[in-house]
């Protein structure tokens, strides 16, 4: 997961939102070498105010916080600050948490056990406008878009994955890095990124029953 990055020009600015001070300190220390951490917030209200003030490239967003969690921050910021990219970071692997955040506009989802190097790579990828899927998220998406005969397809463009997208997701779920996926499928890394971004778009826009249900569950909680 250590591909060459255009160092030298401007360092990426990152903002941390997490209600655990210890976790913020840990991430700040780990990321210090890769990116510039420009701010932290420990609550939803604080995050909304300070993200607007600092305008970072990427926000690392905790899913579970008091007062609505990461979702509340996303809902408040998405319309006013579309240029800010959000990467969800959580200990939770529950499907409804993951899908809920992605559908609210996060560009990716990684678990808190991710290694510092991988986290830095994920931040870079999100800042470039691409998507970041953890293996587990890839598994959820495959599950949600599984071609079941009883599921009606309203919009084939949004409600189904192409075979290539499915292959990419499978490899992601198997623990392959983008570079390894590219090698395995004889395509370029850029193409892999395009596929994953398309999957993200479908995940956000599709009205497939499973996705709608997950999103609805999330809003109810």
């Amino acid at each position: 997961m250590t591909e060459p990055v255009a160092e030298g020009n401007r360092r990426l600015t990152v903002f941390l939102v997490d209600d655990h001070a210890m976790f913020r300190a840990g991430v700040r220390a780990e990321l210090g070498a890769h990116v510039e951490v420009v701010g932290e917030a420990s609550s939803v209200a604080e995050a909304i105010a300070r993200i607007a003030a600092t305008a970072p490239d990427v926000v690392l967003l905790d899913v579970h916080m008091p007062d609505g969690g990461g979702r509340a921050v996303l809902d408040a910021m998405r319309r006013t600050h579309p240029q800010v990219k959000f990467l969800a970071l959580s200990v939770s692997d529950a499907a409804e948490d993951v899908i809920g955040l992605i559908r609210a506009g996060a560009r990716g989802y990684v678990t808190k056990t991710i290694s510092p190097d991988e986290l830095a790579a994920a931040i870079r990828r999100v800042a470039d406008g691409d998507a970041v899927f953890s293996p587990r998220l890839a598994g959820f998406v495959l599950d949600a878009f599984a071609s079941r005969p009883d599921v009606p397809v309203a919009d084939p463009e949004l409600d189904q994955l192409t075979n290539r997208e499915r292959e990419v997701l499978r490899l992601l779920a198997r623990g392959y890095a983008y570079k390894e996926i590219a090698k395995e499928l004889f395509i370029s890394i850029k193409t892999v990124e395009t596929h994953v971004s398309n999957v993200l778009r479908k995940l956000q826009m599709s009205n497939r029953y499973e996705l709608s249900r997950w999103a609805a569950d999330r809003r109810l909680v």
């Binding site: 056990t113 293996p135 598994g139 495959l142 599984a146 499978r170 779920a173 198997r174 623990g175």
Partner: protein
Amino acid sequence: MAVRIALVVLLGFNGLGLLLYSVFWAVVPQQVPTGAAKPRRDLSLLLPFGAIGLGVVLLQGLLFGDNGVASTVGWLIAVTAVGAGVIWHQSDPTRRGHWADNPSQTPWLAAVVAESDRRSFIFRFIGGGVLVAVGVIGVLAVYAPADSLTSVVNGVIFALVGLLGVGVVVAPLLWRTFSQLRSEREGRIREQERAEVAAMIHDQVLHTLALIQRNSTDIKEVQRLARGQERSLRNWLYKPTASPTERFAAALEQAAAEVEDTYAISVETVVVGDTQCDERVAALVAAARESLVNAARHAGVQTVSLYAEVETDELSVFVRDRGAGFDVEKVEDTRHGVRGSIIGRMQRHGGKAEIRSAPGDGTEVRLTLPASRESVTAGKETAR
């Protein structure tokens, strides 16, 4: 004792004592007279009511002489008064003390609806109600022209109307008390849930934390403990528990958990879809487990990926590590684990196993199993 004497005295008045005694016998709860104080106190509290009844009777006699109708009315009023007294006072004093402590606005109602003795409540209520009704009907019947059936019917109707009025007055209080009881019960259920969580934390989390502190110098052991605890908490929080002997996904997750615990590595498990477990699926799980064990023992890495997918026509499992890797051509014949437990097992059950590895480039084991028995084809030779 004093009560019985009083009743014997009352016996003189048209057998009223007998009637009262039977009422007492029916309504006052039977108390074994072991501690002399309690029953004495209880019964003595009834004395004022008896005295009121007696007073009414005597007053009646003094004022109107022994002329039939008026004295009968006096008797009936006395019966009503004593009945009401019995209803109120026959419960034991400790419980009444409890009602007094109760912050309820209507402690006396709490006594009536107390859950613990609903039967005696009904008994009391009916007994008292009968006494009151008898009194009221009696008064009406006595004052009405004799031998008139309609007057008795009217009396009954009036008595019912009276009871209905009492019911209307009492109903809101009763309802409030019942709802208080209900909220109390809900509180109890919450408390029980909290106790369950506390027990889980105590049995698992605190125990693990203690072990971590004791083994704080052994990083591998600490990681193993933390991982095991994390897994069990996750299961507790998120997963509907499925039996590993019945469901494919649960079986795989259990196998991964066992390997995590035994070899202190982390297995990143992703399962898409699920299916029933049968003998062949169990063999697939066993082969996957063996692959995980191999990765844990030989790859020399902390993380192994496990991915499984259930499709309509086949089940597939991928076990991948980014570890040392090995030369498949050279090593395979000498490694019994790979040949027997993975490749051989898959072939016996109509599936196939494929191993891709190169020194320094990690290893991936791919296991596939056709979904149904009908589609089982002769095991293809894949591992050369």
